[in-house]
């Protein structure tokens, strides 16, 4: 590799193939106001491309929560319903019941889903509501200035926990996929991360599987995506991916947790010989 700088303001003149547009086809442009180094636009890519690839571009409705990602709605070439903070799963429920053959996804942050709206995502999962909830988990309320949420991991920096979240003062994080996966109505549950290119690719596979699960009518699906919020973490933008992977990723472990209604890890159904393990009073 030489240090020679190439012109990058135009395509090659010939003999080359474009691998794709700057942006996903279902995106209306590229101009948005999210911070430098924010992970949320990367999550958006995984959603939009999955919809496109599954051929659902003309029958998808997104239900959007309130957080920084709300500002991304101006880029989405999708029919959308904007929900109040925390309420997206209920809105998606009502809409899906009226239009059962459309693809419905919610787009929510951790503040939206694990704080303000924790109740309704759990109820939607338990009901087996045939929708896909997408959680952008950065462990902070990005929009309001970087405060701790219910998913902030121990030791994580936020505006209220500049020395790192401390369990004795602030309690423990909720791991959303772990919580939702065991519920009876959950058909698919997975957690990805956009801290690097391969994370983006894997996350997109999860997104596709979740959407496929829904289109097969199998029930509730959740895809959690760990996203960088350098602003809310008070770390330099370039350190965002590393911080995400090492600090948040250590607790919110990535992978698939439930597929085709089969729990791949977490609370196993009780095996007979485990019964004795339970404390008997």
């Amino acid at each position: 590799m030489s240090d020679e700088v190439l012109r990058s303001d135009r395509p090659p003149e010939s003999g080359a193939t474009r691998t794709g547009e700057f942006k996903p086809t279902l995106q209306l442009g590229t101009d948005h106001d999210l911070c430098a180094g924010c992970g949320e636009p990367l999550a958006l890519r995984t959603i939009l491309e999955s919809i496109e690839e599954l051929g659902l571009a003309q029958r998808t409705i997104g239900v959007i929560g309130i957080g920084c990602y709300t500002a991304l709605t101006s880029l989405m070439d999708l029919d959308l319903i904007q929900a109040l903070h925390g309420r997206a799963p209920s809105l998606a429920t009502g809409a899906k019941r009226m239009l059962p053959d459309r693809l419905f996804f919610t787009l929510q942050g951790d503040g939206d889903m694990a704080n303000e709206g924790l109740q309704e995502v759990i109820h939607a999962a338990a009901r087996g509501e045939n929708i896909t909830c997408v959680l952008l988990n950065n462990g902070v309320f990005g929009e309001t200035g970087g405060h701790m949420t219910a998913t902030t991991v121990l030791g994580q920096r936020t505006k209220n926990t500049l020395e790192g979240r401390d369990a004795t003062q602030h309690g423990y994080p909720i791991q959303m996929v772990d919580l939702l996966a065991p519920l009876g109505g959950t058909a698919y549950a997975a957690r990805g991360s956009v801290h690097d290119a391969s994370g983006v690719v894997k996350t997109k596979v999860m997104m596709r599987r979740a959407f496929e699960t829904q289109m097969r009518g199998e029930g509730f699906s959740i895809v959690e995506i760990l996203t960088m919020c350098p602003t809310g973490w008070f770390v330099p933008t370039a350190k965002g991916p590393g911080y995400l992977n090492e600090v948040l990723g250590a607790v919110h472990v990535t992978g698939e947790w439930k597929r085709d209604g089969r729990l791949l890890r977490g609370a196993e159904p009780e095996a007979p010989n485990e019964a004795k393990e339970r404390g008997a009073v």
């Binding site: 029958r59 709605t73 999708l78 319903i81 009502g94 809409a95 109740q119």
Partner: protein, 359 residues
């Protein structure tokens, strides 16, 4: 149309379904519970959906989603539940979604909440207060029509008496003028079209960064002013030569109207005015009806709320007195001892005689 003996809740549910309501969600609370039960029993057969939501917040969220698809949808509750829904109601107005809401209240203490909006910010919605089952059947249908006409939620405000009184009623479909097409609803078909829809309460437009709240809110204000000008409804009787005008709404007006009719039959110069819409309050009609009367007596089953609107309508031109008051059974359901024909008549009689009425 054949008449069937049923309770108010059942009649309302049937009227809603006759009006095309295909989605309902709710959470039990007396006296709203039976409305939920009737929707649950009747909607599936019509191809509709009734969800027993896990809470009021979820109920109104589900109804919000359903109505966003262009379906006719409704939810509701009682007291506490309605209060929990205030954030959503306020924002549904901003999202311009024609959701129909039922408050089957305990008494009439929610007048302020219903007419001033318990939620944040400047917003307005129609409030229809049926006096009895027959009117409830009509106003329920009207609610769905007006909601879509204005793209604005409409609240039907009833109470325990309305919900639980049983009578033989016919669910006569009301004919309405054609409505504009629902070119705002989302069905997913515009995804990927380059000009999709974004149904939101903050004035966002696909492809455009940011919002313009002032312009957006002023447009809503103008719409609400148009609604106020167009939608006032009322019932006035025996006002021509009346010296006393009694004002009451909802189930309570069934008692006052009965008392006024009895007193009229006995020759008393008493008239009756009943706002059918609580918002917009029929101020002009009331001012007209009160022309020439000596006194206006407001009988509401609360500590005095609608009386503000009566005073605002009359602007000091006529003396306004309160002859109602808080009255409750021991269950708190709002069927208080005041609600008895002879007691109501005594209150009206006292007002006629110029005596003060202890609330």
């Amino acid at each position: 149309m054949s008449r069937r003996f049923m309770q108010g809740s059942e009649a309302i549910a049937e009227a809603a379904i006759a009006a095309g309501c295909r989605f309902f969600a709710g959470y039990p609370m007396t006296p709203f519970t039976e409305l939920l039960e009737h929707f649950a029993a009747k909607l599936p057969a019509e191809g509709g959906v009734c969800v027993n939501a896990e809470s009021e917040l979820e109920a109104i969220g589900m109804a919000w989603g359903a109505v966003a698809t262009g379906a006719r949808a409704a939810t509701g509750s009682t007291g506490q539940g309605l209060s929990l829904m205030q954030e959503s109601i306020s924002e549904l107005v901003r999202a311009e979604l024609p959701l129909v809401l039922f408050n089957l209240a305990r008494g009439q203490g929610d007048y302020y909440q219903a007419t001033r909006g318990g939620g944040h910010g400047d917003y307005r919605h129609l409030v229809l207060a049926p006096v009895d089952l027959t009117e409830a059947v009509q106003l329920t249908q009207l609610a769905f029509d007006r909601a879509e006409c204005w793209r604005n939620p409409v609240l039907v405000y009833g109470d325990y008496l309305l919900a639980h009184t049983a009578e033989a009623v016919a669910i006569e479909p009301v004919a309405f003028d054609p409505l504009p097409s629902k070119d705002w609803a989302v069905d997913g078909s515009r995804s990927g079209s380059g000009s999709p829809r974004n149904l939101n309460p903050i004035g966002m437009v696909p492809g455009k960064k940011g919002i313009e709240p002032e312009r957006f809110w002023k447009r809503l204000q103008a719409k609400h002013e148009a609604m106020a000008a167009a939608e006032a409804r009322w019932e006035a009787e025996s006002t021509d030569d009346a010296e006393l005008l009694v004002v009451a709404f909802g189930s309570v007006a069934r008692f006052t109207r009965f008392a006024v009719r009895e007193l009229r039959a006995e020759g008393a110069r008493v008239g009756h005015f009943r706002p059918v819409t609580l918002w917009p309050f029929p101020s002009e009609a009331l001012a007209e009806a009160a022309r020439g009367v000596k006194r206006v007596a407001v009988l509401e089953q609360n500590a005095g709320q609608m009386i503000d609107d009566v005073r605002l309508a009359l602007e000091g031109r006529v003396k306004v007195v309160a002859i109602g008051g808080i009255s409750s059974d021991d269950a708190g359901f709002g069927v208080g001892p005041m609600l008895e024909p002879e007691r109501i008549r005594a209150r009206v009689g006292a007002a006629l005689a110029g005596r003060e009425v202890q609330p």
